[in-house]
């Protein structure tokens, strides 16, 4: 092991937390966030030129993180995987077009708050209980005075409505 951090380890130290948070905000769970973060840094080790300007390195890492996350969601959309491994090696990773409603610049929590505000009360309530309070379906049902089956259907419809809202006016 080198005593002082090498060039890749310096890049890792500077960016791993930011990349992890970027990915976690988009996949919402740790096992997948870990896998995708590891993929980003493995790809960096294979392709990143550590002599580049720090700003360029950061931009490269976040583009790879965005593409890697987009590929993750492709599996949910049943879209053919572009697969980050198949993108031609080079300084600028090809922009594998992202699934709809990907807007990297937005703050995810701001978008979530906007969506929640625009939902009808009982939809907002069921999502708050499930996602903010982290109650189970049964607990949510009991808090709302409905059956578990109804709670499942309600959260399904709430998410459907929220997804439509999130696509915005051009949807």
């Amino acid at each position: 092991m080198p005593d002082a951090p090498g060039p890749f380890e310096k890049v890792y130290d500077a960016h791993v937390l930011g990349i992890y948070r970027f990915i976690y905000a988009r996949v919402g769970n740790h096992p997948d966030a870990e896998d995708l973060t590891a993929q980003v840094f493995v790809r960096a080790v294979e392709q990143l030129d550590t002599d580049r300007h720090p700003g360029e390195i950061a931009a490269w890492l976040y583009r790879v993180a965005q593409n890697t996350t987009a590929d993750y969601w492709r599996a949910f959309y049943r879209l053919p995987l572009v697969g980050t491994d198949h993108v031609a090696p080079g300084w600028e990773p090809a922009d594998t077009s992202t699934p709809p409603s990907e807007s990297a610049g937005d703050s995810a929590s701001t978008r979530v708050e906007t969506v929640l505000r625009r939902l009808p009360d009982h939809y907002r309530r069921v999502l708050q209980l499930r996602f903010l309070e982290r109650l189970s379906v049964a607990e949510t049902a009991s808090a709302m005075g409905i059956t578990s089956g109804n709670a499942r259907v309600l959260q399904y419809r709430a998410l459907r409505r929220a997804a439509l809202l999130e696509e915005g006016p051009d949807a």
């Binding site: 919402g28 870990e34 896998d35 080790v45 499942r152 959260q155």
Partner: protein
């Protein structure tokens, strides 16, 4: 939005996605029926992340440390390449065993590990197996131009739960007895090509370089996915941050008391 699906069925299926997302599992695309539900899943993932308490949203320190080790290997590789640019060798991490060892050295390395782990009997059978299993390309039965069945061991040398090293001119591997199933596996780690060592007490093939473990079917056994799912390798600091391909598994047959492995012509 058409409501053609029966809402109860769809809601019950989709709950599997949410259960994994909000619990400790890994959400699967199989819980999502179509592009509309994929949008809902993304919405749910963003909601889950946005509502995660700050301390709950941070990465696991063990994960960060494992990934750092991978990155350090890359730095070590760069150093090796820069020191000797004309040599077109694959870089190896500092501190790892040299890649090209003689058979005897390989054998001794494997024996040392086996003995250190416990089993004298297995160590002896490793030794015996290696001596007799170093087979030249012309000593097996020629079957076709592409390869031949090489005799690598006798069945009575390979009781359940043991493994023997063998080498043909073209191939280095183990024959293993996995609870009665005899199998041949490559001894080359699919990460960086280090030579695996059999660990009787773990029933695995362990990589001395970065601690990947392969089960006796040749699959990575201590990847993070397996580790989380089964709880195996609990406390194993080497739980592997990535998935690795399976080990190469040449065809194997047992005729009478003799184990043959199909091997390519060198």
């Amino acid at each position: 939005m058409p409501e053609s699906r029966r809402p109860d069925d769809a809601a019950t299926r989709f709950e599997r996605y949410l259960d994994a997302l909000l619990g400790t599992g890994r959400p699967s695309p199989a819980s999502v029926a179509d592009a509309d539900e994929a949008e809902m899943a993304r919405m749910a993932a963003e909601l889950a992340a946005a509502f995660t308490a700050p301390e709950e949203g941070e990465p696991d320190p063990a994960f960060l440390e494992q990934l750092r080790r991978r990155v350090r290997e890359a730095d070590a590789g760069i150093t090796a390449v820069r020191i000797s640019p004309p040599v077109r060798e694959r870089p190896r991490p500092s501190g790892a065993a040299p890649w090209r060892l003689s058979r005897r050295e390989l054998l001794q390395a494997g024996l040392g590990a086996a003995a250190g782990l416990a089993a004298g009997a297995v160590g002896a059978s490793l030794l015996g197996g290696n001596d007799r299993a170093t087979i030249g390309g012309d000593s097996g039965t020629l079957v076709s131009g592409d390869g031949f069945w090489a005799e690598v061991a006798r069945l009575d040398e390979l009781p359940p739960g043991t493994a023997l090293r063998f080498s043909t001119a073209a191939f280095d591997g183990f024959v293993v007895n996995d609870q009665g199933t005899v199998r041949a596996l490559s001894s080359v780690c699919t990460h960086m090509g280090c030579t695996l060592q059999f660990r009787p007490d773990w029933q695995d093939l362990r990589c001395p370089c970065h601690e990947a473990s392969f089960d006796l079917a040749g699959r990575l056994a201590n990847g993070r996915t397996a580790w989380r799912a089964s709880g195996a390798y609990r406390g194993d600091a080497g739980a592997y941050p990535l998935d690795l391909p399976d080990l190469v598994r040449p065809r194997t047959k047992v005729e009478g008391d003799v184990i043959y492995v199909w091997t390519a012509q060198a």
